[in-house]
């Protein structure tokens, strides 16, 4: 690929007062690429993707998203955030707003588009995540799987160029995991650039262009899924895969 990567991460480091959570991370992500990040708990996966939309500030290195270098400038940060959707493990829907309001608040307040248009867009994305009938309910009235799909739709309503997922199915009951993964697979089919932190290896095999394995704040291995799952180069990666694929 010759086009400029949509995300460029160069020598990225992150310290949490004294604790080094990310060490010299280098990764380029191209438009339309799907990256799945895995690794043991505490290895810095969340920290890394949270740096991409600056929910965390990196302490060294360089991070360029959609041509904008992330620094102190708050306008730049907001510009990046509008292009980068994020889905959290705990959904983080706004409990005081209806599903529809959850979906329109970003477009109306941030993108400044008309309310009617935002609602039409919201209904379109609710359709995409297969819950058009829940528009007027409050988040607390929905199941976990439905809430996470609303959260995905909320991000999509901003029409971002990149979607980040931080263990989107980890907080769900097992029977609801697939409904969320299905939506994510469909989204991958639309050509969206996605970075997904997950331990759902079936999903990873299906959609990932590249797998990233992290441990102790470092990227240990980057490989396409067929190589990654059959012949990982590093011992640590192999041990990790054995452990999670055992079940």
């Amino acid at each position: 690929m010759t086009a400029r990567p949509i995300i460029e991460i160069r020598g990225l480091g992150k310290f949490y007062d004294g604790f080094e959570a990310l060490k010299n991370i280098n990764l380029d992500v191209h438009s339309g690429e799907r990256i799945v990040i895995c690794g043991p708990s505490g290895s810095g996966k969340s920290t890394l993707i949270r740096c991409i939309n600056r929910l965390e500030e990196h302490t060294s290195g360089e991070l360029v998203v959609d041509g904008i270098e992330l620094g102190e400038d708050t306008k730049d940060i907001r510009a990046v955030r509008q292009e980068v959707g994020m889905v959290f493990q705990q959904f983080n829907l706004f409990p005081h707003l209806t599903v529809l309001e959850n979906l329109t608040i970003g477009p109306v307040r941030v993108r400044k588009i008309a309310k009617a248009e935002a609602e039409a867009r919201a209904r379109k994305y609710l359709e995409r995540v297969h819950i058009p009938e829940q528009a007027d309910k409050y988040p607390a009235q929905l199941s976990g799987g439905q809430q996470q799909r609303v959260a995905i739709a909320r991000s999509l309503c901003m029409e971002p160029r990149i979607m980040l997922f931080d263990e989107p199915t980890s907080a769900l009951d097992p029977e609801m995991i697939n409904e969320v993964l299905d939506v994510m697979v469909e989204l991958a089919g639309t050509g969206m650039t996605m970075i997904v932190v997950t331990h759902e290896m079936g999903f990873a095999r299906k959609v990932a262009d590249r797998m990233v394995f992290m441990e102790r704040g470092e990227i240990v291995e980057v490989a396409p899924p067929d190589v990654f799952f059959t012949a990982p180069k590093s011992e640590r990666c192999r041990a990790f895969l054995d452990q999670i694929l055992e079940h």
């Binding site: 939309n53 929910l55 907001r78 510009a79 955030r81 509008q82 980068v84 959707g85 994020m86 959290f88 705990q90 983080n92 829907l93 706004f94 409990p95 005081h96 608040i105 970003g106 307040r109 941030v110 909320r154 991000s155 901003m158």
Partner: protein, 297 residues
């Protein structure tokens, strides 16, 4: 009521210790009574009190509020208006306490510590002489209020602010009380804001909201719902604290009682009546708030 393992069992029968406490209380009040009645030779004149609540106005041909009632109505006016102003100022202060800008946070903190560590009466005088008086002079509020009092729509204004000739004094009472209460409202609002889970703010930030929009559309609407019960309690405290504005000659219930006492010498009757009026007002408010809270659930 459920009687689970966690709830305290409420005794329905009085124990001997309870009788002892009641007897001691009885003795104490008996002694006080004896002192007033026997030693001071106090002559109770309860019969004069009702006319100071309401009196019959011959000119208008109807019953009108007399000084104690006027005082109570003023106390309610001051409390409601100061409460609203304190809510606005307190919300601003609460926001300032969690602002991103360090200077703003420090200023808010300084204001708060100033109010917390200085006696209310002193604060009130400082606000009165340094702020209220200057504001009233600067905005020519005296002249403006006198104009209204003479104008045609005076009655609307009087509904909210009472006698317009006393408007400047009322306004300084309201401003001073609101400034004083804003510190406490501010702390309640700050606690409410900080009780909103971090994920809510992150979700707002992740869609690119500004700090102000994040507060306005995500944090405050949730925080305000949480702080309604403590704010209701604070409002009751405000009604009681409003008595100190009598020190800056605002004609509230306390001020009117002082007036009544100096003209009639009915010290005990007047103060007991006033205590009952304050107590009744606050008790009614707490009943009302409790009902609202129950309806919310």
């Amino acid at each position: 009521m459920k009687r689970g393992a966690g709830t305290v069992r409420r005794l329905r029968k009085l124990h001997w210790a309870d009788w002892a406490i009641l007897a001691l209380l009885g003795l104490f009040f008996g002694y006080v009574w004896f002192q007033i009645d026997g030693t001071l030779k106090y002559k109770w004149r309860w019969e004069i009190i009702p006319q100071y609540l309401f009196r019959y106005d011959e000119e208008q041909g109807r019953w009108v509020a007399n000084i104690l009632m006027q005082g109570l109505i003023n106390t309610v006016r001051i409390s409601v208006l100061a409460g609203l102003l304190a809510l606005v100022l307190g919300t601003a202060l609460g926001l300032a306490r969690v602002a991103q800008n360090l200077t703003i946070r420090m200023l808010a903190r300084t204001y708060l510590e100033f109010l917390r560590n200085i006696p209310a009466v002193v604060v009130i005088f400082i606000f009165y002489f340094f702020l209220s008086e200057q504001l009233i002079a600067a905005f020519r509020i005296e002249a403006w209020a006198r104009g209204i009092a003479r104008g045609e729509n005076a009655w609307i204004w009087e509904l909210f602010f009472g006698d317009m000739r006393r408007f400047p004094s009322l306004i300084s009472g309201i401003v001073v009380l609101a400034l004083f209460e804003s510190a406490f409202v501010g702390e309640i609002v700050r606690a409410g804001i900080q009780s909103i889970p971090r994920g809510q703010r992150e979700a707002a930030q992740a869609i690119g909201m500004t700090w102000a929009d994040e507060m306005r559309f995500v944090v405050l609407p949730q925080a305000m719902r949480k702080v309604v019960p403590p704010l209701a309690n604070e409002f009751i405290a405000l009604v009681k604290n409003s008595a100190i504005v009598s020190l800056i000659s605002v004609h509230d219930l306390t001020y009117k009682t002082v007036e009544l006492v100096s003209s009639t010498r009915a010290i005990f009757e007047a103060w007991i009546t006033t205590a009952v009026l304050y107590g009744g007002l606050c008790f009614l408010l707490s009943l009302l708030f409790r009902r609202f809270e129950r309806a919310e659930r």
